[in-house]
Amino acid sequence: MTIQVCYDIVRYDFSRAGEASSSIKKLLKQLGISSDVIKRVAVATYEAEMNIIIHSEGGIIELNIDPEKIKIVAKDTGPGIENIQKAMTEGFSTAPNEVRELGFGAGMGLPNIKRCSDIFDIESSLGESTTVTMIIKLN
């Protein structure tokens, strides 16, 4: 049995930021998933959601649940990451000042996602879309 849910994420929509992650968390709670796994999924999806809002033209978050794992795919429509290695560095952020003043842009997003995932993958290049895949295993 697989569950799949998709969420639309709008560029710079701060008033709704975190809604997709909160919905996902509520769903996982209803399914009786362990709080450990829920916390990791919550952090990973929140960071992915905020990355789409702050750094992209907009995108989607796709949640897939099967008996073995939770898989989240965050895909945007651009503008792509120039240097993925740099983007994965803790403390590195391209967030503009007005966003940093709100407490975003600490440069921990991608590192946090990787830390919370059992399997992590990111694909992107300048001028293209970015896809981040996070897999958290269920035991």
Partner: protein, 113 residues
């Protein structure tokens, strides 16, 4: 274990919103204003003290399972934040004291068991 309502009374906090969560138990305190740091480090049941007052702090509080949010130094709070705190039942509290002073008082009252 103490609850949010105990902290409200002992520290004389203003309850701005989220009364539904006043019975939440307290496990500790986390102070921070960088949202990704808070997401990574705040433990479930922690009091979160932050100077950020925009609506996104509630997504963070919800996702990280904070017991409540305390805004120090009478900082002004967005209307959207108040509404969301009420919707989600997350206690949104305010104090005249600074984060440092609040931490000292929490320690003095021995509120973390």
């Amino acid at each position: 274990m103490y609850k949010v309502i105990d902290v409200v009374k002992l520290l004389e906090l203003e309850v701005i919103a989220g009364e539904g969560g006043l019975e939440n138990p307290i496990t500790g305190v986390y102070i921070g204003d960088l949202l990704s740091w808070v997401m990574a480090h705040l433990q479930a049941g922690n009091i979160w003290i932050t100077i950020q007052t925009h609506v996104n702090i509630l997504a963070v509080a919800l996702l990280a399972d904070a017991a409540c949010v305390i805004i120090p130094e009478y900082a002004e709070i967005d209307h959207q934040t108040i509404e969301k705190a009420n919707d989600e039942g997350i206690p949104l509290l305010r104090s005249k004291f600074s984060a440092y002073q609040l931490a000292i008082k929490i320690k003095e009252h021995d509120l973390i068991k």
